[in-house]
Amino acid sequence: MKFAVIVFPGSNCDMDLYYAIKDGVNEQVELVSYKETSLDGFDGILIPGGFSYGDYLRSGAIASHAPIINEVKRLAELGKPVLGICNGFQILTEIGLLPGTLTNNRQNRFICEDVQLIVENNQTQFTSEYELNEQITVPIAHGEGRYYCDDETLQMLKDNHQIVFKYTHDVNGSIEEIAGITNKQKNVLGMMPHPERAIETILGSDDGLKLFQSMVKKQKDEVQL
């Protein structure tokens, strides 16, 4: 399986994701510049964390106008898996691939710590290797990670089982402790916690590994069919 890690000016978790794929699940991975206009030949798109364009104006706002974005949208429409982590999640909401928005943490400061997540839906291509309601340890590192959406959207997320990860307690003021959601088709996942930082026990946890393994498994199963 061949992954693309999209690099915007100011992305800073691009290499973390690169190694998560290369060393964590031993698949092919390439860094792709925001200036590119084609993602032909890639089976999965990864949008890394960081501070694209310094988070100036609004996090993700300026990145959403980068040349690569149309191609990301096109592949998402084709049903290819798209994963946005942290700033990647913020970009996915800015470009409308995911509903809702990420705003300032309730504490109004940046928080870096290990948190506990609950796997709310293990029937997605990102979570099939987890047990339902499995509790996992994954770090967060964000200042604008408080998920917000209106009641109607929230109901829709629930009805379609789009809420994939929840925090076990209120870490940043997110509505219903939401940590990660998919689109309706379940091929686009955005999450604030960093699974790519949790793929080796020496760094504190390897609970994030199953997320990437799930993505690879789905693709391999499809190829076999």
């Binding site: 800073n12 501070f51 760094l203």
Partner: protein, 735 residues
């Protein structure tokens, strides 16, 4: 504005307000130039001859510090020092103070401090891998200090988090003397994969000088002079010197510089950060090091504001700018390379062979002086120290009151110096890059080097109370404590960077503190063969003539040869045996408990036996290598009581100990001690390794209770109660 004529500069003594003395001005006009310097030239001399750039008041003292070892590839003089870690890899590191800017504008002052130190690292071609910081404030008992703490911490996090370098450690202390003059020291460590590093040199006739990065504005003019000045109520005007950091641009600049040095080293001869004293300092130093001259045309400098004078452009401290010296045949490639990163890059001058520093502005020659006069001809001052009256030479120790063992234990844990700083350091991204093995909160932070078995451990340490009561021994302890933190983590100390924060050196008592404490630092560095490879001096830390405590900060780096040796301070399993290595006596002068009970510190410190210190460090390292230690924690402020509690908190384990140490001595701060835990099956092995000079205190429990039977008293304390005192103290004060 019409610039004053050279005659006016002389007659109106304008140079004085920029920090040049009459005798310095005379030296420049009579001996060096043989004419009156013009306004711009006077400005260049005043910043280049400031303490911040020239170390004219501290050079003599700094020479005491050893700066060589078998591992040193470059010492002081470069943007940062370099230490060989084997396998063709090296680490580059430096710490720098940003005290004065942070006092004026805390968020931007702290942020640009971090930005500046990162540039010092990547200008050497190294990839920054970790940040640390040492912060000192007044007591958190008023809104102004709370604001300062909040903004400084936010500024540090804002810059480091955005650029994507993990902050892996540091320290925060609170003391009355820092109320109006906080200390903000930041350190950066970089990794060089190829030890063929670039010097910051501008050599070779006709080679080009290229300016890269942010545009030049009027920000921060005279920042370097300002850093060499005292504060007082009257000087609010200095606010014009505020610079604003742009971590986003610095990220582009960092990636571009590291790439160009790695991939296209044939294009470039030198890279230098434009830090304090901006364009003049960076270019003059580059030329002087290469024994060259330089010609600059300021009309080519990218400018953010209009009608800037030569003086303003040369002295501006606009952030996120670099200077490169390149070969002319690669001009097109270099400029195109930076353009691909959306960075401004322009040729602003060239190297000459006549050792003159010439600057053109609006087609006029506005500066024409020998390069070396800016860098080499600075007069050096030899101050005489006088021992301050407060220094007590008798080593008689303070004896703490002990009404309640339990209350004392809890109040020490909740004292701001001891209490958990997680509320503050949690706002720093400690894990970005996915290499951080030990995060802030243990004795030292650890980052592994991907693709190898090696790891780098680092700590920032200072104990200004000890240095205040006894500068020589206090200076020794500062280095020793840093070394114990490195050793506890499984590392061998390989080098030091320092920030020497003191008051006005022209005050003989302050000079005495500086001289004695640096002597203490130097003596320990020699004994332990740990070189000081970089650093900076921040003097004039005073407010209305009240100086801060003498506050040398030691940033130490250690090499962990095998990631299996990485050790943390927290208890791991119930049943593990708890030992203290090193003997405990009554060491209470300058201690946390003395400060808590008297509201001040006083009295001389006991001499330290450096042979025992060295022996214990070696014992710990050898125990770690043999895989015997489950945890290791250095004993420092608050003594055994604090070390035991801190080790218990993370995994919420209790302990049960019985000891000959008295209740008071549980808070003693005797040096050269470690708290360790060992699997009970390794009891004989550890005891025969240690030989003597250790005590088996008891064992780790899983009942979440601290049980202590000391010689003259007992304690039964719920872990949660202790944890709350320790954990909630800072958040509570910050509310």
């Amino acid at each position: 504005m019409i610039e004053p004529t050279p005659k006016q500069v002389q007659e109106e003594k304008i140079y004085r307000s920029w920090g040049l003395s009459d005798s310095e001005y005379e030296l420049i006009s009579e001996k060096i130039l043989g004419r009156l310097p013009n306004y711009t030239e006077t400005g260049l001399f005043s910043v280049m001859w400031s303490e911040h750039c020239s170390y004219k008041n501290s050079k003599k003292v700094l020479r005491k510090l050893p700066n060589d070892s078998s591992r040193v590839l470059a010492g002081p003089g470069e943007d940062a020092g370099i230490i060989d870690i084997g396998d063709n890899q090296a680490v580059v590191f430096k710490a720098e103070s940003h005290n004065h800017p942070s006092a004026v504008e805390p968020y931007q002052g702290a942020a640009t401090g971090v930005g500046g130190i990162i540039r010092d690292i990547f200008s050497m071609g190294a990839t920054p891998i970790a940040l640390l910081n040492s912060l000192k404030f007044g007591p958190i008992d008023n809104d102004q200090t709370k604001h300062l703490v909040k903004e400084v911490v936010a500024g540090i996090g804002g810059y480091g988090n955005c650029i994507g370098i993990p902050t892996i450690g540091g320290e925060i202390a609170f003391e009355k003397c820092y109320e109006k003059n906080p200390l903000v020291n930041a350190m950066c460590i970089g990794l060089l994969d190829n030890t063929q590093f670039k010097h910051g040199q501008a050599s070779g006739n006709d080679n080009l000088i290229v300016y890269v990065g942010a545009k030049t504005g009027r920000d921060g003019i005279h920042g370097a002079t300002f850093a060499s000045d005292e504060f007082s109520n009257k000087k609010k005007k200095q606010r014009s010197a505020v610079q604003v950091g742009n971590p986003f641009m610095e990220k582009l600049l960092m990636d571009a510089c590291v790439e160009i040095i790695h991939e296209h080293s044939e294009w470039i001869l030198g890279v230098q950060d434009m830090g304090a004293a901006g364009l003049v300092s960076s270019t003059a130093e580059m030329a002087s090091k290469a024994d060259s001259g330089l010609m600059l045309n300021l009309d080519n400098v990218p400018q953010r504001e209009t009608n800037m004078s030569a003086y303003e452009m040369m002295l501006s401290e606009s952030q996120e700018r670099m200077v490169l010296c390149i070969k002319p045949e690669f001009k097109k490639q270099v400029l195109g390379f930076f353009e691909s990163y959306n960075l401004d890059a322009v040729v602003i001058g060239k190297v000459t062979s006549d050792k003159q520093y010439r600057i053109y502005h609006n087609d006029e020659l506005v500066v024409d002086i020998p390069v070396d006069s800016l860098v080499e001809d600075v007069p050096e001052y030899d101050h005489q120290g006088i021992m301050p009256e407060r220094i007590i030479e008798s080593k008689e120790q303070y004896i703490p009151e002990m009404e309640s063992f339990r209350d004392t234990w809890l109040s020490v844990l909740s004292s701001p110096t001891i209490a958990s700083k997680a509320y503050l350091y949690q706002t720093y991204d400690a894990q970005v890059k996915s290499n951080t093995v030990v995060k802030p909160g243990s004795d030292a932070g650890v980052v592994r080097i991907r693709g190898t078995r090696k790891a780098i451990t680092s700590t920032n340490d200072s104990n200004s109370r000890y240095v205040y009561v006894d500068p020589y021994i206090g200076g020794q302890i500062t280095v020793l404590e840093a070394a114990r933190n490195i050793v506890s983590s499984g590392g061998i100390p390989v080098g030091i960077t320092d920030c020497l924060n003191y008051g006005n050196p022209e005050d003989p008592e302050i000079f005495w503190e500086l001289e004695r404490s640096v002597q203490g630092i130097a003596d320990v560095c020699r004994k332990f063969d740990v070189p000081v490879i970089s650093g900076n001096v921040s003097l004039y830390n005073e407010f209305n003539k009240e100086a801060i405590y003498p506050s040398p900060m030691i940033g130490m780096v250690g090499l962990i040869e095998n990631i299996d040796h990485i050790t943390t301070s927290c208890f791991k399993n119930s049943g593990d045996l708890i030992y203290v290595l090193g003997s405990t006596s009554s060491d209470f002068n300058g201690s946390e408990i003395q400060n808590l009970q008297l509201g001040k510190v006083e009295g001389a410190l006991n001499d330290i036996d450096l042979d025992i210190e060295k022996k214990n460090q070696n014992l710990i390292l050898s125990a770690i290598k043999q895989g015997l230690l489950k945890s290791c924690h250095d004993l420092s402020e608050g003594g055994l009581a604090v070390a035991l509690s801190e080790s218990a908190f993370e995994n919420k384990l209790g302990f049960n100990i019985q000891t000959n140490i008295s209740t008071v001595e549980m808070f003693s701060e005797t040096q050269s001690r470690y708290l360790i835990t060992v699997d009970s099956k390794n009891k004989n092995q550890i005891e025969s390794l240690f030989g003597n000079n250790f005590e088996c205190l008891g064992f780790v429990t899983n009942d979440s209770i601290f049980t202590v039977k000391a010689r003259d008293g007992e304690l039964d304390l719920e872990l949660n109660e202790a944890l709350n005192s320790w954990k909630e103290a800072i958040p509570c004060l910050m509310k």
